[in-house]
């Protein structure tokens, strides 16, 4: 590998790995797992760097890829682990999260988001998981604030319906 490549890789690591780790740790809540996940995501970043650097912001790519990777890891753990079949205890949900946030995040983590497109998933994660404002999401994604509002309204309506169904016992975890 050329010296310049090695230098670039080192610079990318020092620039982005800490931010990836922060996000992984928040999700996985285990330093070891977060470090492994950070390496995985950073390797993806190296693999896709040519296209990532041509985007306006690498931050968006990193947030999305890290989130998807952690959700994927968590799902695997939940559905494969013998002790995790019916519990959410080791999910990334935090005890001080509001009930609405917990329900919505379960919605995302439990694959109930599958009917939604990626943009909606991104917006919902940024809103409920990261606590970003609509302006901040607009900066991140390049979507117009009106589009973000439209997606969130649509999602909230559907979630309300889901919450009602859940209370009526039509969904079970």
């Amino acid at each position: 590998m050329a010296e310049s490549d090695s230098t670039t890789q080192r610079e990318l690591y020092e620039k982005y790995a800490p931010m990836i780790y922060r996000r992984c740790l928040r999700f996985l809540r285990s330093k070891e797992e977060a470090q492994d996940a950070t390496s995985d995501v950073f390797l993806k970043l190296l693999e896709h760097w040519e296209s990532v650097q041509n985007r306006e912001s690498a931050l968006f790519w990193i947030h999305r890829t890290t989130t998807n990777h952690c959700i994927s890891l968590w799902r695997r753990k939940k559905f494969q682990g013998p002790d995790n079949e019916d519990g959410w205890e080791d999910s990334p949900l935090h005890a001080d999260d509001s009930e609405e946030k917990r329900i919505i995040l379960r919605d995302i983590l439990g694959k109930l988001m599958m009917p939604w497109n990626k943009s909606v998933r991104d917006i919902v994660m940024y809103t409920y998981w990261d606590g970003y404002t609509q302006d901040e999401i607009s900066t991140m994604t390049g979507m117009a604030p009106s589009t973000i509002r439209k997606y969130l309204t649509k999602f909230r309506r559907a979630t309300e319906q889901w919450k009602i169904e859940k209370l009526e016992g039509q969904h079970a975890y």
């Binding site: 590998m1 050329a2 010296e3 310049s4 490549d5 090695s6 230098t7 670039t8 890789q9 080192r10 990318l12 690591y13 020092e14 620039k15 982005y16 790995a17 800490p18 931010m19 780790y21 922060r22 470090q35 950070t38 390496s39 950073f42 390797l43 190296l46 693999e47 760097w49 040519e50 650097q53 041509n54 306006e56 912001s57 690498a58 931050l59 970003y132 404002t133 302006d135 901040e136 999401i137 900066t139 991140m140």
Partner: protein, 270 residues
């Protein structure tokens, strides 16, 4: 864009060095007047420092050898560029090599990395905001500099500086020491690992012109007298020109094998 309310995404992008010149200027303006966003930058900086101390790049590179995951070059770079750049570098360096040969003055590298893994960088604290230092930008009196280094196996590090008037400043944990002090030893034992912070910050004074910071990486401690006479001698030979001094530094004092890294900081007249 960011003057009326906070936008964490813009601050995070600024921290990562993303965004255009206008966006960066706008964020910088906002940071000057927003303690909350300055706090966000500080916490991001701390997280980065803590993470890199716990998980330095070499740890990642050892587990994932770079050969298998080389960064792909942008397709916009012509294939012949490296060859032309190499040729240009040879042409630029040839007079230096011919003039000084192998036994002449050391050409100190002004910048970030050498092949031996030596690093001298700094973080700049100005008005409550902390940002990675950029030697190409103008600095001001009162700016606080937190130097970080990688000693690459050397046992001691020594920091000193010389300003445009030829005044030498020597630094110890307790701050700036009187020039010429021969004891106790000026040098600090180098901490192992990458990107170690010096246990003190340096505040720029209001002396006019540039200031050249020099870090000596060696196998033994140095005294203030040794460092001062080394720097003032070089300053005289360079006729008081700090840019010229960088390329005219003789081998540093102390045991053989010592290396030098320099940072030339320009100060604006506030």
């Amino acid at each position: 864009m960011l003057t009326e309310h906070c936008n964490r995404v813009l601050v995070e992008r600024y921290f990562l060095g993303e965004g255009g010149a206008g966006e960066k200027r706008s964020v910088r303006l906002h940071l000057d007047g927003c303690a909350e966003c300055r706090g966000l930058v500080s916490s991001l900086e701390k997280e980065r420092r803590d993470y890199l101390l716990a998980h330095p790049y070499r740890e990642f590179a050892a587990k994932h050898p770079p050969e298998g995951n080389a960064v792909r070059k942008s397709s916009s770079s012509p294939r012949w560029l490296p060859a032309v750049a190499g040729l240009a570098a040879c042409l630029v360096l040839m007079p230096v090599v011919l003039r000084y040969g192998m036994r002449g003055p050391v050409v100190a590298e002004s910048g970030v990395r050498t092949k031996g893994g030596l690093v001298l960088e700094y973080y700049l604290k100005r008005g409550g905001s902390v940002t990675p230092g950029d030697a190409s930008e103008a600095h001001r009196a009162g700016d606080e500099l937190q130097f970080v280094y990688s000693a690459g196996g050397h046992a001691y590090v020594t920091l000193a500086s010389i300003d445009a008037r030829g005044h030498v400043s020597l630094y110890r944990s307790s701050g700036s020491a009187p020039a010429g002090a021969d004891s106790p030893p000026l040098s600090l034992p180098a901490a192992p690992g990458e990107k170690q912070a010096l246990p003190f910050a340096v505040t720029l004074d209001d002396s006019p012109g540039s200031e050249l910071f020099v870090m000596i990486f060696g196998s033994g401690p140095l005294t203030g007298g040794e460092v001062e006479s080394w720097l003032t001698g070089a300053f005289t030979r360079a006729s008081g020109n700090l840019e010229g001094l960088v390329s005219l530094l003789p081998a540093p004092p102390g045991p053989a094998g010592a290396k030098v890294k320099t940072l030339l900081l320009r100060k604006s007249q506030a």
